[in-house]
């Protein structure tokens, strides 16, 4: 039987609850996202309605059995946005409950490793993003960062910036998913962003962008150019939002602000 959840984390965990409740089998049963489900005549399916209590019970059980680290693996691998997530998670949990407390370290097991792989990719990109996210100062002294991560990272990188940039207002905007993290000087929260007005940059912004760009060009040793190595660490798909690679404000404007 195919179980279909609504694509949310809560929905996936509810699905897990019901599969365990119905004694689903890893050989025959799947947990899939209803939005991308390909229906055919012979399959039987059941729609899972997200249920906060059931999802909470699953989360608590994961937390109690595998600890916070274990729950982190489950959550991060969800953010990978894999269409197989539900089924992989079901297989993972079936196996992990058998193996016990530190099941996530049993990487020689396929069911464990498949979820671990997703987790690892998300961890990697989220760490990279802590470095290569770029803020620009708007005229109202709000720092605005735009990015399009491969995975849904906004919720997991926001706490880092809330701690680090404690005394400034900022927004991290994922334009691919239309979601933003806002920090108001006290706490941060996630909110969908549909449309936004034309951004006005502060007077100083162009100057610092150009300073940064010049610094970037001059700190490299020209005799040792190694573009392949550079792209290895910083794949080109991220360059679009990097101040040093694409000058966001026109250099002409920058000229007027310096004296």
């Amino acid at each position: 039987m195919d179980y279909l959840h609504d694509g949310s984390f809560e929905g996936a965990l509810t699905g897990i609850y019901q599969m365990f409740h119905n004694r689903a089998r890893i050989e025959t049963d799947q947990l899939l996202d209803a939005k991308t489900y390909q229906m055919n005549l012979w399959c039987s399916y059941e729609i899972v309605v997200s249920d906060r209590d059931q999802a909470y019970k699953v989360a608590k059980s994961i937390m109690d059995t595998f600890g916070e680290e274990g729950f982190k693996v489950v959550l991060y691998s969800y953010l990978y946005e894999s269409s197989d997530y539900g089924t992989l998670l079901f297989k993972f949990l079936k196996r992990a409950y058998k193996l016990g407390g530190n099941a996530i370290t049993c990487l020689s097991d396929d069911a464990i490793f498949n979820i671990y792989k997703l987790y690892r990719s998300v961890v990697r990109e989220s760490h990279l993003m802590l470095g290569i996210l770029r803020f620009a100062q708007l005229d109202k002294d709000i720092f605005y960062a735009q990015y399009e991560p491969t995975y849904d990272l906004t919720g997991i990188i926001a706490p880092h910036f809330a701690e680090r940039l404690k005394d400034q207002l900022w927004v991290i905007h994922d334009t691919k998913r239309g979601i933003g993290a806002f920090y108001d000087g006290q706490k941060w929260f996630l909110q969908p962003i549909d449309a936004f007005e034309q951004l006005q940059f502060s007077k100083e912004e162009a100057k610092y962008q150009e300073l940064w760009k010049r610094y970037f060009d001059h700190i490299a040793i020209a005799e040792r150019k190694n573009p392949k190595c550079q792209r290895n660490f910083m794949p080109q798909k991220y360059w679009k939002f990097l101040t040093e690679k694409t000058f966001v404000l026109k250099p002409r404007e920058a000229d007027t602000t310096r004296n």
């Binding site: 803020f135 680090r164 610094y215 060009d217 040793i221 020209a222 310096r258």
Partner: protein
Amino acid sequence: MEIFEKLEILADAAKYDVSCSSSGSERANAGGLGNATKAGICHSWTDDGRCISLLKILMSNKCIYDCAYCINRLSNDFPRAEFEPEEIVALTINFYRRNYIEGLFLSSAVTRNPNYTMERLLMVAKRLRTEENFQGYIHLKGIPGADEKLIREAGLYADRLSINIELPTTNGLKLLAPQKDRQSILSPMKLIKDQIDQHKYEKRNKALFVPAGQSTQLIVGSTNETDYHIVKLSEALYNKMSLKRVYYSAYVPVNNHPDIVPHKVPPLQREHRIYQADWLLRFYGFKADEIVNEAHPNLDMLVDPKCQWALRNLHLFPMEVNQVSFLELLRIPGIGNTSARRIMAARRFGLVSYESLKKMGVVLKRAKYFITCKGQYFGAGDLEPLRLKQMLLDKPKQSQMSLSDLYPEAFGITTPNHAIEGETYGLLT
């Protein structure tokens, strides 16, 4: 001179310093700006593939010294510039707020005298910490010859202090940097080490003192030192001075000087092998004499140092991955710290299979010759060291390799052994 030009000149002047790490410090943010994360964060990668973590600049490049290896030497005809402390503070804060950098790495040429220079560096760090409430990473360079009091005060504001040794041998120092002496480099290093130990010992003392430890830099390939000199010196620095890192910088010929001896081996490749040896010292439980020794004073450029060691000690292999200890796993070529830890963890659930080793990050193309898995050997039978060495080479290099590379003795080519008269191996002369 405007700030744009200054930044260009003083970034150019700083780029040959290789240190750029921002790890090892944990500084909490109490309402101000910034913090330091234990793992460190890279913020960009330059066109030469090196990471940018810190804003790495010189405060000034108006040097009074005339060291032959250095681009900022007095006798170079070269644009000179000097930052004011408030300019550096503004750059750091504004770059940090835009998430361009993890902090500041401030160094300087020696202007006027060592004390004056150190005072200026200290002024910037002090302002960032006390006036701007900045808790990001600060790496300051210790100026050899500066007063002890200044070094000690700098340690209270900086996350890391470093004093560069630059030339690995005393003779090299005499030759290329006659105005510096070994003692003026080593004594502040010792001072920092003692202060760090003292702050750790006095638990009641809450003030941080250089929480990310100290580091240094060695230039590779400007004098005729051997790899044995370098590795042995690093080992002494790690053991006796408790350094966090020793950086190696392949010499870039910025000056023409008769005393600079170009090494036979391409400097970047040599730097790479020395870094690998350095990792073996720090994370793999190797001793310097196991990696290189007086009989073989130079590293082999064809295979990595761990493979070199394994080829000299074939009687220890193959090892059974399901049986040997963690430290023994670390000695197997193709198995690193992470994969060794994963193997240890997975072993608690049962025997590890050969197929699953790949998933755990083991580089099987090297490891397979040195392991058995559940008693089975997957390598290529009983190989003599030289045949095995050929198997271990990276693929593209194999085609370029000539017979004389593999059998240097047969072709009458021996690795140059620069024995340096009167030079001792290790730290103190």
